[in-house]
């Protein structure tokens, strides 16, 4: 039988207040009290009080108590209506939640679509702008006639300076 300390003794006192001690617990208690005789009066008072409280008679209850309660409960039955109402609320809330999730999804798709469209438009406009820029540059620096460019050797021997009259040169070459 293990030695019991003061803390365990207090726990045993608390358990004894709620239920009769088991044989093993009683043995531990007796061993502790043998080691601590000063605790004996305190334990005896506890034991007597426990016995008095346990021996209190049960409260009187009418033989038809349960029948009366059932009768009153059947007259009310609000929990059923409330239960159905509660279920209806749950179903409504679930439906609203599903609708909100679908709505969120639709909005997300719309936003992404608009973004792609905007990007596509931007690219088209950028290309158009680039084309206009090239056209502008081309107008400022016209290229010589194709026939001139066909005489490669002649071109090689041309001075590096800008030709004043490309058409005149072409006629000369012919």
């Amino acid at each position: 039988m293990g030695y019991m300390n003061d803390s365990e003794y207090q726990e045993l006192i608390e358990e004894a207040a709620r239920r009769p001690l088991r044989a093993e617990e009683d043995g531990q208690l007796q061993a502790y009290l043998a080691e601590h005789p000063d605790k004996q009066p305190d334990w005896e008072a506890e034991a007597v009080l426990n016995r008095l409280l346990r021996h209190l008679p049960p409260a009187p209850v009418s033989s038809n108590f349960t029948a009366q309660v059932l009768s009153a409960a059947m007259r009310t039955k609000p929990h059923r209506r409330h239960h159905h109402h509660h279920r209806f609320r749950l179903i409504s809330l679930r439906w609203l939640w599903s609708f909100a999730r679908a709505w969120q999804g639709g909005v997300a798709v719309l936003v992404v679509g608009l973004a792609l469209l905007a990007y596509s438009q931007h690219r088209v406009q950028s290309r158009a702008q680039l084309a206009r820029s090239v056209a502008t540059i081309s107008a400022l620096t016209p290229l010589p006639a194709l026939e001139v460019l066909q005489e490669f050797d002649s071109i090689q021997s041309l001075p590096a300076t800008r030709l004043a009259d490309p058409d005149g040169l072409l006629a000369a070459l012919k």
């Binding site: 009080l49 409280l53 209190l56 009187p60 209850v61 108590f65 349960t66 059932l70 929990h79 059923r80």
Partner: protein, 192 residues
């Protein structure tokens, strides 16, 4: 209780049969009249029935039940304090009937032993009724073996240590009040 939540009347009847005695034990020693204690006990179970949809399986049923019992009991005590005319200092008499006795005499023991035991029991009942509300509830709940200290703490809305302290103080008060009877030995079954 989960079956009751789904409208099972037979399950509710089982619950009432199982717990009517513990609930009455609590109320009978708080309200000074047996009839009113029983009326309040019926209200407790009606409240359980109406609130069944709110019950959660995570909560222990006895804790939930005794919390409802305590709340209805406190409401009734407050109502009586506000309306002193409803006080039950005098025995309640309705429709010409006598109020049932608060303490039952044992049926079979010899008359002198019964008398002594009856007197002692009355003293114990009186000492309990004079305890502060929370201490009385704690002591009475302690008598129910399937109600743990943790459950008592939940019912009272206190911490576990505060609950144990309440019970300790209540027991010390009872030991003090019953000291003469404890020392004379009249609590024993055989006459002194």
């Amino acid at each position: 209780m989960l079956r009751v939540k789904h409208g099972d009347t037979a399950a509710f009847e089982e619950l009432v049969d199982k717990y009517k005695q513990p609930v009455m034990n609590l109320l009978y020693r708080t309200l000074p009249d047996a009839t009113e204690a029983e009326d309040l006990a019926q209200s407790v179970f009606l409240q359980v029935y109406k609130s069944a949809h709110r019950y959660r399986a995570s909560a222990k049923f006895s804790t939930w039940l005794f919390t409802i019992t305590r709340n209805l009991c406190l409401n009734e005590m407050r109502r009586r304090r506000r309306h002193p005319a409803d006080s039950l200092d005098a025995p309640l008499v309705e429709h010409g009937e006598e109020a049932p006795p608060q303490v039952r005499e044992p049926a079979t023991p010899a008359p002198d032993v019964a008398l002594v035991q009856g007197e002692l029991r009355q003293k114990v009942e009186l000492a309990i009724s004079e305890l502060p509300e929370n201490q009385r509830l704690a002591i009475l709940l302690c008598r129910e073996e399937d109600v743990s200290y943790e459950s008592i703490a939940d019912v009272l809305g206190c911490s576990l240590s505060a609950t144990k302290s309440l019970i300790h103080r209540a027991r010390e008060t009872l030991k003090q009040k019953l000291k003469p009877y404890l020392h004379t030995g009249v609590w024993k079954d055989k006459p002194s």
